[in-house]
């Protein structure tokens, strides 16, 4: 009953399991992008980061150049500090770049968009960006609208 074929089949079975695991790791999940992402870290200061999560993409002209690595709160500045990791391929981003929190589609996920400035120096490890535009919340827009409407009547 016990033969070489049994061992071969069990070997194939285990190999298929490993192949499936490899596929889930590399093709399906983000493990492939997690390891290879060697980059430099830049801090962004926002007034409001509602809806932005870790690992959200950073895009420049719609092209993904990095991701959010952590979000914290700066108690001295009363602002949110978003640390983003920019891939090493994108080394020449002007220092006076503006960071905006944007939304994919009408209801999509939040991401950070970079709009390049005109400075000659480039962003390096540890650079800080203060010219930012926070995420727009519906409540704030409605609030501003009300102020405008009621202010106009006076």
């Amino acid at each position: 009953m016990y033969s070489k074929t049994v061992e071969v089949w069990v070997g194939i079975f285990v190999a298929m399991g490993l192949a499936a695991l490899f596929m889930l790791a590399m093709q399906v999940s983000n493990l492939s992008t997690m390891g290879s992402e060697e980059g430099y870290e830049v801090s962004l200061f926002f007034d409001d980061v509602a809806g932005l999560g870790p690992r959200a993409p950073v895009r420049m002209s719609g092209v993904r150049i990095g991701r959010v690595s952590s979000i914290a709160y700066d108690q001295q500045r009363f602002q949110a500090v978003v640390k983003v990791s920019i891939d090493n391929d994108f080394r020449s981003i002007p220092e006076d770049t503006t960071a905006l929190i944007l939304t994919e589609g009408l209801l999509g996920a939040k991401y950070i968009g970079f709009e390049p400035g005109g400075a000659l120096e480039n962003l390096v490890e540890g650079s800080k960006i203060h010219s930012t535009q926070s995420s727009l919340s519906l409540e704030k827009i409605i609030g501003q609208l009300f102020v405008k409407l009621t202010g106009g009547n006076d």
Partner: protein
């Protein structure tokens, strides 16, 4: 009076079974370390339990994935969100359907055969015969089957998820004309390795444990008659399915609830 007595008898009976089950599990686990000296027993059982289930798992996974692809594509198209089909399919499969469906299929395919085999061994007094020859049936018969079943379920669940994702890919990209790179990039940006894939594997390891335990215990605990073995086989399927679904809810709320 009769009613109360009946209820009491049933309660005592269930508690006795529960206790026997736990003692049995303890003896089985104690038998596992010696198995590594006789790995051929495990290989043989892996063949009987894992490889034999492979065809059905692959075929059912392919169809599950294809149906998911079709249904999600049609539904998501109403919201103009058919691009997210890749992530929805992968998350459903990796987190829930892969582990749960594999465990339930496994109970029907391999669990029943384990129960029937061990039950018949008991009915034909092969297990007592082994004891007479100073061979511990726990180590020789039960432990290899338990271990092989426990190892097989996670492997089969991985294969199930991978094949089903390919099945959904076939429908969404091949038949319905979604862009291939959209399917994979959407998937990669929403499926997290630790959060989703590893939790799915932990789930299937837990389900494999439950399925293996119930299958060998029901076989060993069967009344040694043909009717007893058939009853035990039914109980294997019912108990495994129910406990897997119940445990799945608990694990899901622990893993993804908070």
């Amino acid at each position: 009076m009769w009613l109360i007595r009946n209820m009491g008898r049933r309660a005592i009976h269930s508690f006795q079974r529960l206790g026997r089950g736990n003692l049995f599990l303890f003896h089985t686990l104690m038998g596992i370390p010696q198995l590594f000296l006789r790995y051929r027993l495990i290989v043989q059982q892996l063949f009987a339990v894992g490889v034999m289930s492979l065809t059905i798992i692959v075929v059912s996974a392919a169809f599950t994935g294809m149906v998911l692809g079709l249904q999600l594509f049609n539904t998501l198209q109403n919201f103009g969100a058919e691009q997210s089909i890749g992530s929805v399919t992968a998350l459903t499969l990796v987190r829930e359907l892969g582990p749960v469906l594999t465990a339930i299929f496994f109970a029907g395919l391999a669990g029943t055969s384990l129960t029937a085999e061990i039950g018949l061994m008991k009915a034909t007094e092969q297990l007592s015969g082994m004891e007479m020859m100073a061979v511990d049936p726990m180590r020789r018969v039960i432990a290899p089957r338990f271990l092989a079943a426990w190892v097989s379920v996670p492997i089969l669940a991985l294969i199930f998820s991978a094949v089903a994702i390919l099945g959904a890919y076939f429908v969404a990209v091949g038949l319905l004309g979604l862009d291939s790179s959209v399917y994979w990039t959407q998937m990669q940006s929403y499926v997290d390795w630790d959060e989703d894939v590893v939790n799915g594997i932990i789930k299937s390891v837990a389900f494999g444990f439950i399925a293996a335990w119930i299958a060998v215990f029901e076989g060993h605990d069967a009344i040694p008659t043909s009717e007893g073995v058939s009853r035990a086989t039914i109980r294997t399927v019912v108990h495994t399915s129910l406990s897997v679904l119940g445990l799945d809810f608990i694990l899901t709320s622990l893993m993804f609830g908070g």
